[in-house]
Symmetry: D2
């Protein structure tokens, strides 16, 4: 197909990642992560996040988020999430089904969870009639392509910890966020007080694979191996996931892929923001652009490029870029949008 | 590491499979299975199993078994399985956690479930005090390296259907069973009355991936897409799983890999069965050999080759071969066993 | 204790109900509902709601709501409820734990769910990434002491059915609602299109017991007996619950108790609504009054009578009346409120 | 109906218990156990079992067993139970559905779990592929009407604790066991090392109600209130359950009812054991008798008295006595059995 602007998971595998997979295909290896690739990949994570980081690879983002969160809650404890969180809107209740616990969706202004949003949910009393909030989860970058400024996230972490809550970050696009902020994944998670991070691979050049990083390994030590197995996320030939992460965390490839994706989003923004009939609806900080267009224009554009309508009622579209999107493709897409918008 | 005899999941990826993965890495593709590779792989399964086959790819065997079975039971219905089933002994209760239902482990003589084993469990009454048996699941080849003869399995299927039960086959090694019986996977599943098959990939040359095949697609139509998503088994970049299965089912590679693994097991059997101090404990039909050895001999052999003790109390070891095991490796292993047995 | 205004579940058992319990204590009876009392009680429900009503007794309201709803959803289907629903706020996630499904809390203006509130939640697409809404549940009377007018509920039922959703009514106080509307429980549930009703007993004079009424018995036939057993709601000596319901539905006792409770709420309303420092915050239709008072006044009043602060932030109190509340007690309570308000 | 010999849950409520219920019906009481009756009932339990006992009332036996066990296991931990346990055979998988964990049914000679039965299940390895055994549960008296001798149970407790397992006793008939052994419930549970006891009420003269007793309150402190609520076992008008237990534990009524039931079983045994065509199949220690009879004789006897066939294949019947069974009824029943056996 021509380049897709539908999702960063429409992308192929980055060549260095594919090379790492091929290189891992040497002889036999003990299963379930007791292999040299997994050891090295975990070591790479510890280089980035510090020695006291416990890392568990999973197959996909839902698997990572759900097994990670399951280590933090009892069945009568709840997770506070923005109502727009992937966990709430795109994981089909996998969390509830696996844990028996509740996600409590919290309305937000813009997909970013703030102390004032969370605070009212902490007055539910401490007796057994209410699921007790135990975790705050946020997405960095957000589902709307924005990023939390470190100060915002630190404040949220401090608040959560004061109230006895853990903080989990769904980092399906943590690399895009770090690239947008000109810093490292560690600086915008662990160093701010985040307890557990889902470090995304699939949307940043990998074939598949996410890495759950516990910055307090004790939270994971007993429950996580079982949660990963019961959550059907334990790969027998784990070296092929581990090798991808080793490659991603080597030579700053995580940053190369993500900053390229972000740059392509900026190029796209620059190309479309002045077009008549296009209204950019949200800040563009990572690799997603949200825009309102006339419905006919959307249909015409979709005949040439693949992307989704995000909110049918407006309508609002979402365009995503990724490591493999090229400048030429952006320019062709801008032209298509321009033509679609002008044709009405 | 030197060749492992611990499990067929210690194997690397077969070269034709790896080539198919690389070939799939072309441009963008729509996520979650709406891509050309998935379409072609499903078409391949239909060539093998008939047009009326619904196919769903999952990440791993536990994921395949659990999501498949979840489509067949209500939370108050039970699955009858040999007490030795992978589902019961090696999947950490993932079925119970995902479904809330019960696996009822049934004692068997040799890991093969027979009508007489199952029959007593069908008298539990039909009222609400007992989980109602709804599915019989068996492994083909069995966890002990044996295979069900088609007549045995047909009789079990007929019996199950008469009693209103479905039959699921955990076919993590269905190709080895078909190769052992000199027939096709279809001939030993669908054609005998099996309702749902977990068609194994990971243990027969793939990097990862299993395919749940429903021979009555109506059983899957509504529940399976949701079960796969909630079961955290829905790959976003599904083409990379699908492409492997397309390759496996093309040019009879499933048979090539499996029959090679079986042949290596026979070569190993021939090499060790007469050795002093070695007692072969079970029929060798597929790619596993079980043997009793003196404990010291086991330890000596393990210094040179990697394998597991299966039953510590005897002790009994399990040796597995796979698509990549070579004749030379078998011979070296036989020599190591011989030396280990003789050294005492 | 002096009369409580905290909850209608603080009430004793009505004398006719207690007499029915005592009368049921004659000789042996087959367990689990296969007894004459249960048969007669179910017949009473069918007198009230029609022959085609399937009735299942449970121990408590959470048990009734959760087992009833579990018959209507698959684990990937969701229940839309007012964010203020007892199911969402006071049942500690029992629904999620039992079913693995999700309650989706819907913001409302006043605790009453309207079509416009629900409608946006039905656009989530029909693929496997979203839990599919399948049930709308409402409370009648509402958690705020209001009642749905029959036209409102009929419109909601019609809308729900058009969209393929079931309607469940949490009728913990269905008798209070019927009394308030001057009609029968049937007229405000089944006759408007409600599919399943939790008919409350505990809060209307019973010792314990709720009755789940399915107006389409086919919805319950297979799942409900198992759901009730697995939901730990199947009483072995069921006659003692059934006998209470038989008594409640005989001689319009349900109406006598509920209309008395409602009348006491009106008397209380009349007594306090003009008091300085008291603001009645919600319509008083059933047996609950909500009011804002100065915090010191609340504390003074609580020294003499037991009641709860409902919303600490305002603060807003809730006062409830029940079958046993007397006019003299209301008058004494009004006086206490008056003194507490005046003392500051 | 004429006296039932089907189950002790067919019995009426003992008069002293009914009087206690009536006496509790005085005025209002705070809900959910914050009342004086609950306080006094818990104090009674502490008189019997020691001050450091945490007591939680539930509606029924399944609710008691499941919520109690849920406090002892994580979802990846398993409960070892005799294959004949009520938990395994008569609670419809409620444990699995509520906890996601597994009951592992262990074959026994006679329904009594012994160290040698349990021991093989403790070698499953400690990695994440196996649900980890964490609890041993037994029934006292057993499902077959036998009792564990204190030495047997102490040995099992010691063994369990050495291996890091908890011991739970399903004491639906703990009073019958204590009566049979001529001792107290405490002497055959807490004093032997039992960690958690389900103290049965329903089968010993109560209308409904079981009491979960934790002898290490710390095991219950956080999880049990939530488990009871989520398990839909929290009574709002709890005083009516508590008052029954207060009465049961006062004046040794627990013993009076149970020893009478046991004595009636002995009288029945004496009456039938020499009858031609009757074979008593199990030791009669508590209030159940198991016997083999010719099938026609069973049918004839069932025309006059209500009882169940326990094992259709033999056939074997179960006869149960209870607090209200009279000597005259036993004698009439013996005569009926005699006539039914002689008539063939």
């Amino acid at each position: 197909m021509t380049r897709s602007f539908a999702s960063d998971n429409n992308a192929p595998v980055a060549p260095e990642i594919m090379a790492a997979i091929a290189a891992a295909n040497e002889g036999d290896a003990v299963g379930y992560g007791h292999d040299a690739w997994t050891e090295r990949a975990i070591a790479k994570f510890r280089e980035h996040f510090g020695e006291d980081t416990a890392v568990y690879f999973t197959f996909n983002g839902t698997g990572a988020n759900v097994t990670a969160l399951s280590c933090l809650v009892k069945p009568w404890e709840a997770v506070l999430a923005p109502a727009t969180a992937h966990l709430q809107t795109d994981e089909c209740g996998a969390f509830e089904r696996f844990t028996g616990s509740k996600v409590i969706p919290v309305a937000t202004r813009d997909g970013k969870l703030r102390i004032a949003d969370v605070e009212p949910y902490l007055h539910g009393g401490h007796d057994e009639h209410f699921p007790q909030p135990r975790v705050v989860t946020i997405s960095q970058s957000t589902e709307y392509g924005d990023v939390y400024h470190p100060d915002e996230l630190r404040a949220l972490c401090d608040f959560a910890h004061e109230r006895g809550l853990y903080v989990h970050v769904d980092g399906a696009r943590i690399s895009n966020a770090a690239a947008a902020l000109g810093t490292t994944p560690r600086a915008i998670t662990k160093d701010l007080g985040v307890d557990v991070l889902t470090f995304g691979g699939t949307k940043n050049g990998l074939m598949l694979g996410e890495a759950v990083c516990f910055f307090n390994p004790e939270l994971a030590r007993v429950p996580m191996p079982f949660a990963r197995k019961q959550g059907m996320q334990l790969a027998s030939k784990m070296r092929f996931i581990a090798a991808q992460f080793e490659a991603l965390l080597t030579g700053a490839r995580w940053l190369k892929y993500a900053s390229h994706a972000n740059a392509m989003a900026q190029r796209l923004l620059a190309g479309v923001k002045e077009l008549p009939g296009i209204t950019i609806t949200r800040p563009v900080r990572a690799n997603a652009i949200f825009a309102k267009m006339e419905r006919g224009a959307i249909e015409r554009a979709q005949r040439r490029f693949f992307f989704y309508i995000f909110d049918e009622s407006l309508p609002e579209v979402r365009w995503m870029t990724h490591w493999a999107t090229t400048e030429r493709e952006i320019d062709a897409f801008v032209e298509a949008i321009w033509e679609a918008s002008s044709a009405s």
